[in-house]
């Protein structure tokens, strides 16, 4: 039985990876172009006038945040669009009739989202090397933050897709929640630049902990505690995976 579940997971994960690789012009190229523009405009043109931030050049400072921004967006978008399309075309039924457990469905979709997020993260990192030399201060922290953030937003995308009834429903959260939280999550600035009240408000934004945890992995500096970053990531992962399991188990949006 474990063999069956493992084969099913491998199949679903491969199918998800094949999907985003098949449409690479839509999935892999845009982040490379967008982030190149960020590096040119914010890093080279404006960054040279800003000077240092957190003890590093502005370009060095924003690189981890921009990589994390791509990871968040792509992990979320991959799973929300893939799962909703499977619902829309009804091919999610292929999974529902098969003897695979609900955990396999969740892990397969999340695994696909994580694969795309990591690949895009790698592409953006390679692009950033054209503009700045990257040094890694704490590889374990870097990898842990990267993977936990990717799984978190892939699971969030799955929850969104389970509830979604139209294609509009899967663009509402990225537009009105994720983008503002990411831009206000310390990608482009250090929290210490903010007045104390806004620093306190910013710390209610979970993306602050992800960006700072990742930045610590690269630069060894962070506006928040590293332990807190990991704890926030684990807590959100746990909550979102539990929610996804509950929804799939109940058949919300997929079974009558």
């Amino acid at each position: 039985m474990a063999n069956l579940q493992f084969t099913a997971l491998k199949t679903l994960w491969r199918k998800e990876c094949t999907r985003f690789l098949r449409i690479w012009v839509q999935t892999l190229v845009p982040p490379a172009i967008t982030m190149s523009l960020y590096f040119v405009i914010f890093g080279s043109l404006i960054g040279s006038r800003i000077g240092e931030m957190g003890g590093f050049s502005y370009m060095e400072f924003i690189v981890p945040g921009l990589i994390m921004m791509s990871v968040i967006t792509n992990a979320y978008a991959n799973v929300s669009s893939s799962f909703f399309s499977a619902k829309f075309q009804r091919n999610v039924e292929e999974l529902l009739v098969a003897p695979l457990s609900n955990w396999i469905i969740i892990l397969g979709f999340v695994g696909g989202g994580v694969a795309r997020a990591l690949l895009v993260g790698l592409i953006v990192t390679l692009v950033s090397l054209l503009f700045v030399d990257i040094q890694i201060h704490h590889p374990v922290m870097l990898v842990a933050t990267l993977v936990l953030t990717a799984t978190l937003f892939a699971a969030a995308g799955l929850v969104n897709a389970v509830y979604a009834k139209t294609f509009d429903d899967i663009s509402v959260i990225p537009t009105f929640v994720l983008t503002p939280l990411t831009y206000l999550g310390g990608v482009f600035y250090s929290l210490i630049l903010l007045p104390e009240f806004w620093q306190w408000v910013s710390k209610a934004n979970p993306i602050v902990y992800m960006v700072n945890g990742f930045r610590y992995g690269f630069l060894g500096v962070s506006d928040v505690g590293i332990g807190t970053s990991i704890a926030v990531l684990l807590a959100f992962n746990l909550a979102l995976f539990a929610t996804a399991w509950h929804l799939i188990n109940k058949g919300v949006g997929i079974r009558s």
């Binding site: 199949t11 094949t18 098949r22 075309q89 292929e94 529902l96 098969a98 003897p99």
Partner: protein
């Protein structure tokens, strides 16, 4: 012989208190070719949806080859192959990807899945198209693709929900031949269809469902034996004499068409001899409608009359 499927007291109530199934019992034997018939909205697709885990039941029990869906869902599911009514594959994937992925979801390793894909896609005349996206296929090819996909894990029971809907007669007949062949090889087949000719030709046993209740569950032969009168249409030469038939109910629909109700016990000889005596030639003859169709309509109407009569009695 084992039971392929046992359903006991199956109920389904949708939101808004819509009762789709009102406690049905059904048994299908291993190796059977079984028809589940019913008018639109009778509960056929809900029943199939529950068996295939696409619909959550409200109450009752479903056992597939001895495995209770409530106790061992994974094992029960592994016995079933489903061919749904609507196309439900990813239109952008190739045929090979669709069938191999489905095999993988049932734990079939990739190399074996590729062997089976070749076997079933060839049997269903789709092998040449294996690397094409599914959206480029014709309707008949898409139906055959769903059959190939359902067979990839070599299920013990194949459930087909309207498998030949919208398929031309040539492809329909080739699908019938294919289904008869796999049934001969031992796969139990449960079929819903609107083409009653299809059920009559293929199935050995039949259940008729209406308004969430099974109103008939018998062998096809037993059901057809209930039909004691058949209506024949006789084509006569234009402007022939007006026929007079003793002992038969008949109607002349126009000057060259005669409809005659013939009791099975009586036979057709009396009709021909009387027409011959009157100098009326019969050019050709055919059944007015499918025999099963007549029975089906009658059973459904009888069931509804009984239901409304019992309601009136309760209210009275």
């Amino acid at each position: 012989m084992r039971n392929a499927l046992e359903i006991k007291g199956l109920r389904k109530t949708y939101r808004g208190n819509v009762e789709a199934l009102k406690g049905i019992d059904l048994t299908v034997k291993e190796g059977d070719f079984f028809a589940l018939l019913g008018p639109n909205g009778a509960g056929k697709s809900t029943t199939i949806g529950i068996i295939a885990s696409l619909v959550n039941k409200s109450d009752g029990k479903v056992v597939i080859f001895g495995d209770d869906m409530d106790k061992d869902l994974v094992k029960a599911k592994s016995h079933i192959g489903l061919v749904p009514q609507e196309f439900n594959f990813n239109q952008f994937e190739t045929l090979l990807q669709i069938v191999c992925n489905q095999a993988g979801y049932y734990g079939v390793p990739r190399p074996l899945a590729l062997q089976r894909a070749e076997k079933y896609l060839k049997q269903l005349d789709l092998w040449e198209k294996r690397n094409m996206a599914a959206r480029t296929l014709s309707g008949g090819m898409k139906r055959r693709l769903m059959i190939a996909r359902a067979l990839m894990h070599e299920p013990k029971v194949l459930i087909l929900d309207e498998p030949t809907a919208g398929v031309d007669i040539e492809i329909r007949r080739s699908m019938w031949t294919f289904l008869q062949e796999i049934n001969r090889q031992g796969i139990t087949i449960i079929l819903t269809t609107h083409y009653l000719e299809e059920a009559e030709m293929l199935c050995r046993n039949i259940a008729i469902i209406d308004k969430g209740r099974i109103i008939e569950n018998t062998s096809m032969k037993g059901l057809l034996s209930k039909l004691n009168i058949e209506t024949f249409i006789l084509d006569l030469p234009a402007n022939s004499l007006k026929p007079q038939l003793q002992g038969f109910a008949y109607r002349q629909t126009d000057d060259h068409t005669l409809e005659v109700d013939v009791p099975k016990a009586t036979g057709l000889n009396g009709v021909f001899s009387q027409l011959s005596e009157q100098g009326i030639q019969v050019l050709s003859m055919r059944n007015k409608s499918n025999r099963l169709e007549e029975l089906f309509v009658r059973l459904v109407e009888d069931g509804r009359t009984q239901t409304s009569a019992s309601k009136e009695a309760q209210h009275g």
